[in-house]
């Protein structure tokens, strides 16, 4: 019974961000993991440049596609290079990441919302100058 408990606890022990998975990591597996990450990231990057340069997609939908590809590539980097996983041993790292993503989202969305609203409510610059006169 204690053996089972010990195994269970070893499995959920914390892992540092950047650490490989605790179970069965050796040199070959490590290299394969980085290679898979490199292939996925290179594919997503190539897709981004291709979509931006070509006329493969309907024009107005390109920005949304580019942002989706960028988010996917960040996910690939997080999983394969930084080894941030959903496993129980990296709960702390994922929680910190979630908080960071929340702040980044609030900052970006808040800035864009406020500045766009201001921009729409401001009279054109020449009118503003004539009003001051």
């Amino acid at each position: 019974m204690t053996e089972v408990l010990a195994q269970d606890n070893a499995h959920v022990a914390d892992s540092a961000p950047g650490d490989e998975r605790l179970d069965g990591s050796n040199v070959a597996q490590g290299i394969v993991g980085y290679l898979v990450g490199l292939a996925l990231a290179a594919g997503l990057t190539a897709a981004s440049f291709y979509l931006a340069a070509g006329h493969f997609l309907y024009g107005p939908s390109v920005p949304a596609a580019l942002i989706a590809l960028a988010v996917a590539q960040m996910g690939v980097h997080l999983v394969f290079f930084l080894h941030i996983t959903t496993g129980p041993e990296s709960t702390n790292n994922v929680l910190a990441l979630a908080f960071g993503v929340l702040i980044v989202f609030l900052l970006l969305a808040g800035t864009l919302f406020i500045m766009t609203a201001l921009h729409h409510n401001m009279p054109p610059m020449d009118k503003l100058m004539s009003m001051q006169r």
């Binding site: 892992s15 490590g30 960028a70 960071g100 970006l108």
Partner: protein
């Protein structure tokens, strides 16, 4: 079964980390390696929050060109693709250095770190060349709000990469002088995190700055 359950203190979130005493590493406080990397991870997240402020100002000012050039006119996407390839490959070779560290193989470690340094140096060279070309054409940071935001954001990332290159050389020298000691393993882990995080920020840079603003 029930005897063990009732004997164990109620600790569903493992705040005491098992605490049975015979659990080896799982009991007691987390190892220093985990704590150091967690602290550095939080620094990296705060760095990313700082970058998001630069991204927000760039997104707001991207249209404020003051009759100067727009992104479409000044960006060379071929050069940006080369920079992206350099940084992505250097991220991979940095991962190889981490694998070599895990295997305690000094030769492979030096080789992977030197490849990482060369790729990073090519990246910085390309970026500096782009900046110099823009400034010589009269499109420096003082030309328009758009260019101010551009130089601030991309320059901030470039400064991070330059600092990372210095750190990389320090790591090579320290491994040469001290070998794979425990504190060196922690520093190498932190350097790996830093370098991969820079690549993540570059993904956002080439998407938001170059591709979204520079597409035909």
């Amino acid at each position: 079964m029930s005897a063990i359950d009732s004997a164990a203190p109620f600790d569903p979130y493992r705040l005491g980390r098992g605490g049975d005493g015979d659990l080896g590493q799982a009991g007691g406080p987390a190892p220093k390696r985990v704590i150091v990397a967690y602290g550095f991870w939080i620094f990296l997240l705060s760095d990313i929050v700082m970058f998001s402020a630069f991204f927000a100002s760039y997104a707001v000012l991207a249209g404020a060109t003051a009759h100067g050039p727009t992104g479409r006119q000044i960006f060379d996407l071929g050069e940006v693709a080369a920079e992206t390839a350099c940084l992505l490959l250097s991220s991979f070779s940095c991962g190889m250095a981490a694998v070599a560290t895990g295997a305690r193989n000094k030769t492979a470690f030096y080789l992977a770190m030197i490849v990482t340094f060369v790729l990073g140096a090519i990246f910085i060279t390309l970026e500096v060349r782009e900046f110099i070309g823009l400034i010589e054409a009269g499109d420096g940071p003082s030309r328009s709000a758009f260019l101010s935001a551009f130089f601030a954001l991309v320059g901030c990332h470039g400064a991070h990469v330059s600092a990372g290159l210095l750190w990389l050389l320090t790591m090579i020298a320290q491994v040469y002088a001290k070998g794979f000691r425990a504190e060196m393993l922690r520093r190498i882990l932190c350097f790996n995190l830093f370098w991969h995080a820079l690549d993540i920020i570059w993904v956002a840079v080439f998407t938001v700055v170059y591709l979204l603003a520079g597409r035909p």
